[in-house]
C-alpha cells in the first residue's frame, strides 16, 4: 500500500507531444511502466517514447475510454493549464498531477471553485515536482533513483528541496511510502493538511516528513490538526528564515506579506503541535531517524496498537547500518 499512486495506476500525459511532456513521460514510463498514453488536442496518433509507442488522443475523455487511465500528468503551457485540469476532471480522472509552473492565480481560483465538493477527483500541484511511490509509480519530474521503497511519507512545496530531504533518507537506509510535491503556488489542489491526513490513514506509512516554506498559513493549519489527531510521528522543516518581507522568493506562494507567513511563526506552530522541527535543511534525515529511535526506545513499555508498525520501520535504518556520510 501507499497513497495516491501504486503499480496499478494508469497515467496519461496531457501535453505529451511537447518536449518537456515527452521527455518526462519517457522517464516516468522507464521508472515503472505506468504510462498508457497521452493527450494533445489536434495531434491524435502515436508518440514514440524512446522506442515505446503509445497512443495520443485529442481529448481526455477519449484517452480514458481507450486506455482506462485513472491518473493524468499535465505539462501544457501555463495559459492553457486550467482548462487542461478541468478537462481531466471532466473525463473522470481520479488523480490529476499538474507540473506546469506560472499559472495565473485567478485561473487556479476558478479551478478550485469548479472542483469544490468533488470527491471523485484530486488535484496535486500546480507548480510541483509530482507524486512518486518508490518502485511502483512515478508521475512527475523527480529523479526516480534517489527514492527507495519504505514507510516514510514525504510532503513538500518545493522540488529540489524535496530531493534533498528524500536523498538524506535514502542514503541513511530509510525508504519512503509515497512522496508528494504539493507545489509552490498560493492556490493549489492538495494542501499540506490534506496530504498529512492521507498519510495518517495509510497503513503503509509510519512517519511523515513535512517540508514547508514561508507564505500563507498552510503549515500552521496542518500543525494544528497534527497536534490534535495525527497518530504518526512528524518531522518538519521550513525554508525561508532569512527571506525579506514583501519579496516573492521564486515560488508565487513564497512571500511574507503584512508580517504573515514568516518561518518563525510556522516553526512555532509546528513545535507547539509536538512536531520535531529540523534546524537546518542538512539535518532533516537525521532529525527523523533520531525521533524514530527515541520512539523505539520508549515504545516497549506501552502496549498501544501502532507499536508494531513503529518498530518495523525504525528497525530498518538501524538494521541496515546505512553508510555513514562522507
Amino acid at each position: 500500500m501507499s497513497i495516491l499512486v501504486d503499480q496499478n495506476t494508469r497515467v496519461i500525459f496531457q501535453g505529451i507531444t511537447g518536449s518537456a511532456g515527452k521527455f518526462h513521460a519517457t522517464h516516468c514510463h522507464k521508472y515503472a511502466g505506468n504510462v498508457v498514453g497521452g493527450v494533445t488536442p489536434g495531434r491524435a496518433g502515436e508518440v514514440d517514447l524512446d522506442g515505446v509507442k503509445l497512443p495520443v488522443f485529442d481529448t481526455c475523455a477519449e484517452a480514458v475510454k481507450q486506455t482506462g487511465a485513472n491518473a493524468s500528468c499535465i505539462f501544457v503551457p501555463a495559459a492553457f493549464a486550467a482548462d487542461a485540469i478541468l478537462e481531466a476532471a471532466d473525463a473522470g480522472i481520479a488523480l490529476i498531477v499538474c507540473i506546469t509552473e506560472g499559472i495565473p492565480v485567478n485561473d487556479m481560483v476558478k479551478v478550485k471553485r469548479a472542483l469544490a465538493g468533488r470527491d471523485d477527483t484530486r488535484l496535486i500541484g500546480p507548480n510541483c515536482p509530482g507524486v512518486i511511490t518508490p518502485g511502483q509509480c512515478k508521475i512527475g519530474i523527480m529523479p526516480g533513483y534517489i527514492h527507495k521503497p519504505g514507510r516514510v511519507g514525504v510532503i513538500s512545496r518545493s522540488g529540489t528541496l524535496t530531493y534533498e530531504a528524500v536523498w538524506q533518507l535514502t542514503t541513511r537506509g530509510v525508504g519512503q511510502s509515497t512522496c508528494i510535491g504539493i507545489g509552490g503556488d498560493p492556490v493549489n489542489g492538495t494542501s499540506h493538511l490534506e496530504a498529512v491526513k492521507l498519510f495518517n490513514d495509510d497503513p503503509a506509512t509510519d512517519a511523515i516528513v513535512l517540508i514547508g516554506e514561508i507564505g500563507g498559513s498552510a503549515e500552521e493549519e496542518a500543525a494544528a490538526w497534527i497536534g490534535e489527531y495525527c497518530r504518526k510521528p512528524v518531522v518538519a522543516y521550513i525554508a525561508g528564515m532569512t527571506a525579506p518581507p514583501g519579496r516573492r522568493m521564486g515560488h508565487a506562494g513564497a512571500v511574507i506579506s503584512g508580517g504573515k507567513g514568516t518561518a518563525a511563526a510556522k516553526i512555532e506552530a509546528l513545535r507547539a503541535a509536538g512536531i520535531a522541527v529540523a534546524e537546518t535543511p542538512a539535518v532533516i534525515g537525521e532529525t527523523l531517524i533520531s525521533l524514530l529511535k527515541k520512539r523505539q526506545r520508549t515504545r516497549p513499555r506501552k502496549a498501544s496498537a501502532p507499536r508494531a508498525k513503529q518498530g518495523k520501520i525504525s528497525k530498518k535504518p538501524t538494521q541496515k547500518k546505512p553508510a555513514k556520510r562522507k
Partner: protein, 403 residues
Amino acid sequence: MNIHEYQAKELFRRFGIAVEKGGVARTPEEAVARYDEITAAHGQNAQVVIKAQIHAGGRGKAGGVKFAKTRDETAAVTREMIGKTLVTHQTGPQGRVVRSVLVTSVMKVQRELYFAVLLDRTASRPAVIASTEGGMDIEQVAAKTPEKIVKEIIDPALGMMPFQARKLCRALGLSGDLATAGAKLMLNVYRLFWECDCSLVEINPMAVAADPDGKVSVSPLDAKFNFDDNALFRHPDIAAMRDPNEEDPRDVEASKHGLNYIGLDGNIGCMVNGAGLAMATMDIIKYYGGSPANFLDVGGGASVEQVTAAFQLLCSDHNVKALLVNIFGGIMKCDILAAGIIAAAKAVHIPVPLVVRLEGTNVELGKKMLQESGLPIITATGMADAAEKVVKAAGGNGVKEME
C-alpha cells in the same frame, strides 16, 4: 509588479471609479497644463496637490507631497521635485529619484476608511476587507482591534454581490447616498481586481471627502496595487506600466536571463537550482554565521548561458566575498551542470572564493570534472559542509584546501 499612483488612478477611471481631477506631469510645463485643467473644472481658487511619483510610501514626510495655489507655484514645486532623490522609510538610505509628479485637485477629507481586495489563501478565493480605521497600517489594526475589520469571501463564479457591498458599507457606518456611493466603489474595485489579475488592491484611505465644489462622496485617496506576474501576458497594457527605474537593477538584469534573483545585503553570493532549496541555502548560510547576498534560483534546467549570466550578476555585487553554488541535479545531470559551471567560471573572472556543492545524478563525474578543471573551486559534500566552507571563505581566513 507595482505601479505608480497616477497609473492606479488611470485604472480607476477606466473602471468607472471617480477620482480627483488631474494627471501626471514630467515637466513644470505639463504640471501647469494639469493645473489649468483643474482650475477650468473647479474655478480659479482651486488649490492643487503635487505628489512625487515613486514606488514607496512615506512621501509626505520626505517632502514629496506639496500644495500650490497658482500656476507659478505649481511650476516651481514641480521643478524642485523632479530629479530630486527622495528618502523615505520605505526607500532605503539610497532613496529614489523622482521622475514624474501627480497633480490633482484637493479633497476635503471628512472620514478615512480602509478597503482592500486580495486573495484569501485558506479559502482559495478572493476576499474583500473593510475597516473604519482608514489611514492606519491595517496590520496594526488587525493586531490591536480585530473587531474593527470586516471581511467577505467572494465566490469567483459570482463575483462580488451587491448585498456584500451593502453589508460592508453598513459596517463602515455609511448610510444614504454615501452607502450607495461606497457600494458602487467597492463593486467596481472588485471588478478591477478580478479583470486585471491583481493580487492586491488596497485603498487606504478610502475617504468620505468633499471635492472643491463641495460635493461629498466616497473616493479612493491613495491606492496600492500588486499584479500577478503570471497573468501579465494577458494584460499587455498593464505590463507596459512597469517602471524599471523603480526596481533593483540587479533584479532587472536577472529577469532578462530568466533567472529568479532577489538582491539582499549580505556578502555570500548564492546560486541554487530550485526556489525551496535556494531559500534553504540562504538559511543554512545564516545558521553557520554568514549572511547571504542574494536569493538566486537558476531553475531546473540551467543552461551554460544562464549559469554564466548568474556568475556575472553575483560578481557585479561588490559586497560579495565568496560564492556558493548548491545544485541538486535531478533530471539535469551533475556532469552537465559541472560543465556549465566550468565554462562560465572561465568566461567570467571570479574574484572571490567559489564553493561548489553538487549532489544527485552523475555527481561523482561532476565533482571529478570540477577538480580537474584547474579552477580554484572548493568542493563541498552536503549542505552543512558547503555552508561552513563558504562562511569561512567569506571571512577571509581558514579557506580550506581543495578536496
